[in-house]
Amino acid sequence: MKGSDQYLHDLTRPPSATKYLAEAWRRREFAVLVPAQDLRAQNMGTVLGQLWHLVNPILLVGVYFLIFGVVLDTSRGVENFLGFLIIGVVLFHLTQRAVQDAAVCISRNLGLIRSVQFPRILLPVAAVNGQTAAFMPALLLALISVLVTGERPTLRWLALPAVLVAQFVFNLGAALIVARIGALIADLQQLLPHFFRLVFYASGVIFSVEAFISSPGWRRAFAVNPIYDILSCARWCLLGEPVDVWAVVGLMVWAIVLPVVGFWFFLRSEQRLGA
């Protein structure tokens, strides 16, 4: 028999973490193009079609402004409340939707998982990519509203991309963790909306934590909340709202630690997901 077995490799053993990442990177187009297809499919058959990606955030912010800006007036201590609210609502929803989408990304793609061997990490990554792409019109809307409400671009604006990148990698880490738990415990999908409602009020999306909580110690405790960190930093960039140094440190720590923990956590049961 010619040829030896030396170029046969093991088809069943999971690859090392670096090989796995390399393979996922080689197929990165999947994580960009597939969510793009799904986004397009989302609003098929509606009258407004793809315009919904812009109309949706407008309505979202409109409702919050009506309730918290006009009816309840939580604008205490904030100069530009509309800008403040828009940044909060838009960035908060980006993380919420990315994480909630990641919770169902395995179960929604069982057909694909059971017929093609590919790095499953691409699915939560695709979920985050898709929501990030869907968020772009909302980001544009936020920037326009901030300008319309009287802010002028300053050097601080240049720091915004760094904040958004930090939020993106934070979302990735959270998505990886939630994807694994959601694949094994379907109840998570029901729990997440309530969890995010709680986080919503604990992150100062609609009110200024600084204005409502006077104790500096308690205020500092908010820095452990990553969403609060993201919002504080983004508002500092665009509105010049004061930002606690602990919020900046908190965001940096979350953005470095969570993706690493998430990758490790996801990889540990990668082979069992959806099998």
Partner: protein, 253 residues
């Protein structure tokens, strides 16, 4: 057991065991947890593949036959790396492509967009898919339906599209699980040609099916699986005759 067919080995399965858990009831509900102290899910371990060894050679088409539940699909999934082994090993020259019972990848999207998604999952680049998309559509024979949502396809049309996607880049090792029985006469002829292309390029094909004439026509050797073990492996007509004799015997008794 393996008479050498001349070519060198493309996939080597050694004493492979694949077990999986079948959960009796989905997840313990609150009632079970509190009333019965039942925290863990109750499951049975199904030993679907119990010690299979076989070699797949260059330029070979291997038939895989056996009753429903014999473990054919499990073995093919394990060979693709979709299921972990309990013990044993499966080595291969490259990762086999598996063509299984077809579900629509994205039912709401058109066949054309599903070609893109399926191709990307298989590891093709967008440019590769775009340069081949016409060829894929022509091969599937679905030119008229290709821009319709995939949920409007019949199961035969789905299977044709899947086969066309999976073989768009001729794989070195192709495992086909019950996928060829569907499709009309003309498509079956075309897919047979594609299988011949793979084997003539020193690749290997495994054909898992119930349709015996197909097996006898295409295969160089036939493996007969029964209850997770290999009952016979060898000359197609002999193995098929042996298999059919047990089928008719149990049918008569």
């Amino acid at each position: 057991m393996d008479e050498a067919t001349g070519g060198s080995v493309t996939v080597q399965v050694r004493d492979a065991h694949v077990y999986y858990r079948v959960y009796e009831d989905p997840v313990p509900g609150l009632k079970q947890i509190f009333a019965e102290g039942q925290m863990r899910r109750r499951y049975r371990t199904i030993r679907a593949v119990r010690g299979i060894s076989l070699d797949l050679h260059e330029s070979e088409t291997l038939g895989l036959i056996g009753a429903n539940g014999a473990g054919k699909t499990t073995l093919l999934s394990a060979m693709t790396g979709l299921l972990p082994l309990e013990s044993g090993s499966i080595l291969g020259r490259s990762r086999p492509s598996l063509l299984g019972v077809s579900s629509a990848l994205r039912p709401a999207l058109s066949g054309r967009r599903n070609i893109l998604i399926g191709g990307l999952a298989l590891g093709l680049s967008r440019a590769e898919i775009e340069s081949r998309v016409d060829e894929i559509i022509d091969f599937s024979g679905l030119r008229e339906a290709i821009d319709r949502p995939m949920r409007t396809y019949s199961s035969g049309m789905r299977a044709r599209l899947h086969f066309s996607i999976a073989t768009a880049r001729i794989p070195e090792i192709l495992l086909i699980d019950e996928a060829l029985a569907v499709g009309d006469e003309e498509f079956r002829h075309r897919s047979a040609q594609r299988i011949a292309e793979i084997t003539s390029a020193a690749g290997s094909v495994v054909l898992g099916t119930h349709v015996m004439p197909e097996i006898e026509k295409h295969c160089d050797r036939v493996a007969w699986m029964d209850n997770g073990v290999l009952k016979a492996l060898g000359d197609p007509s002999e193995v098929i005759a042996a298999y059919l004799s047990t089928v008719s015997r149990t049918g008569a008794s």
